[in-house]
């Protein structure tokens, strides 16, 4: 069926190279036939090469191969979908946790502001009264002044400031001093100017009722003037100190 199957002749005529050289210059009928067939082969090979180059991946595949490719694509797409849903769940989880955190942070900030006003760490402004206590003779009793502060506290004062120098908070101490009073270690001289933020009418009422603060000061030969204002500014702040002994109860 194939010429290679034949065994070469025993006698050794001219070598292959010589024969090739000779036949190269002497055309024959056999060579024409060979030329036609080789040409046919070249034609088919070129066509096939062009076809392979032009083909997209799936056009030349058989049915079984197409099914295999389809299965591969399907499993890949299933995997991708699983990945997508997983990532989406992660994203939603992160988003909701971020939202929760933002809300909590916002609430904590609000609380910090509120507490900051009460604890005196933040400056405050709002409606209130300005109380001026004149004490020309220096006879004002510390107890009476303290009573005045207590009256203000009873009336729901939210921020108190003495002489624009001392912020009065829960721990504020009052002591007698030869020059006047010592509030939280700061010596204040009369006249004492008390800025108090709260409902102006309530605060004013708390100081001026019968036999109240104003009358007590008068007994000490001083005088009290109360001025309601729409805008009182309490600008003095203090740095919060960490409690040494009191610990917050956990879980509350």
């Amino acid at each position: 069926m194939n010429p290679t199957d034949a065994t070469p002749p025993a006698s050794s005529p001219p070598s292959g190279m010589a024969r090739l050289r000779r036949s190269f210059f002497s055309p024959s009928r056999g060579q024409a036939v060979v030329a036609v067939l080789v040409g046919l082969l070249a034609f088919a090979a070129v066509t096939q090469a062009r076809l392979t180059g032009k083909d997209d991946t799936y056009a030349g595949l058989r049915q079984a191969e197409l099914i295999q490719a389809l299965n591969g694509l399907q499993s890949a797409s299933r995997k991708a979908e699983r990945d997508i849903s997983q990532l989406e769940a992660t994203r939603d989880r992160l988003r909701s946790s971020t939202q929760r955190r933002t809300t909590a942070l916002e609430q904590a900030r609000k609380e910090l502001r509120t507490l900051g006003v009460l604890a005196g760490t933040l400056p405050a402004t709002g409606p209130g009264i300005r109380v001026t206590v004149q004490d020309p003779k220096g006879d004002l009793s510390l107890n009476h002044l303290l009573d005045g502060v207590e009256e203000l506290r009873n009336a729901g004062v939210e921020a108190i400031e003495f002489n624009d120098r001392v912020r009065v908070i829960a721990q504020t101490s009052f002591e007698d001093d030869p020059d006047g009073v010592r509030v939280d270690g700061v010596v204040l001289r009369p006249p004492y100017v008390i800025d108090a933020i709260g409902d102006p009418d309530t605060l004013a009422g708390a100081l001026t009722f019968q036999e109240g603060f104003a009358d007590d000061v008068k007994l000490d030969s001083g005088s009290v003037s109360v001025k309601k204002e729409d805008r009182i500014k309490v600008t003095v702040t203090r740095t919060p100190s960490k409690p040494r002994y009191a610990q917050p109860v956990p879980g509350q």
Binding site: M1, N2, P3, T4, A6, P8, P9, P13, P14, S15, G16, M17, R19, L20, S23, F24, F25, P27, R29, G30, Q31, A32, V33, V34, A35, V36, L37, V38, G39, L40, L41, A42, F43, A44, A45, V46, T47, Q48, R50, L51, T52, G60, R62, A64, E65
Partner: protein, 110 residues
């Protein structure tokens, strides 16, 4: 000489005409090309051995192509087309290699 001209002519013709292969023939063309390539190398080896016969060459060329195509066709019908065409290509490739080895021995004595 004429064979080389035929080779060049075939390449040029294929490039110029760039024919469309019918869809039914598409799976057989690559196998047929490999089979024909095997026949050509076999013929060249026979030529160098001094036993070349153009009639034998024509018959071997055509029968090679036909048998390769039939094998692939049968494989497709039996559902093992892909594997069978791989087998045909492997066998033909081995033959081409052994033929080329003989040709090399003739031309370069190595």
């Amino acid at each position: 000489m004429i064979a080389i001209l035929g080779l060049i002519g075939g390449v040029v013709l294929g490039l110029v005409l760039s024919p469309d292969v019918p869809l039914a023939m598409e799976p057989y063309l690559p196998i047929a090309v490999v089979a024909a390539l095997d026949a050509v190398f076999g013929a060249f080896r026979a030529f160098l051995d001094g036993i070349f016969d153009d009639k034998v060459f024509v018959i071997s060329f055509i029968s090679n192509v036909l048998i390769a195509a039939v094998i692939v066709f049968l494989g497709d019908k039996l559902g093992v087309g892909a594997q069978l065409s791989t087998g045909v290509v492997v066998v033909l490739g081995i033959r081409i290699f052994s033929n080329v080895a003989a040709i090399r021995r003739h031309l370069f004595h190595a």
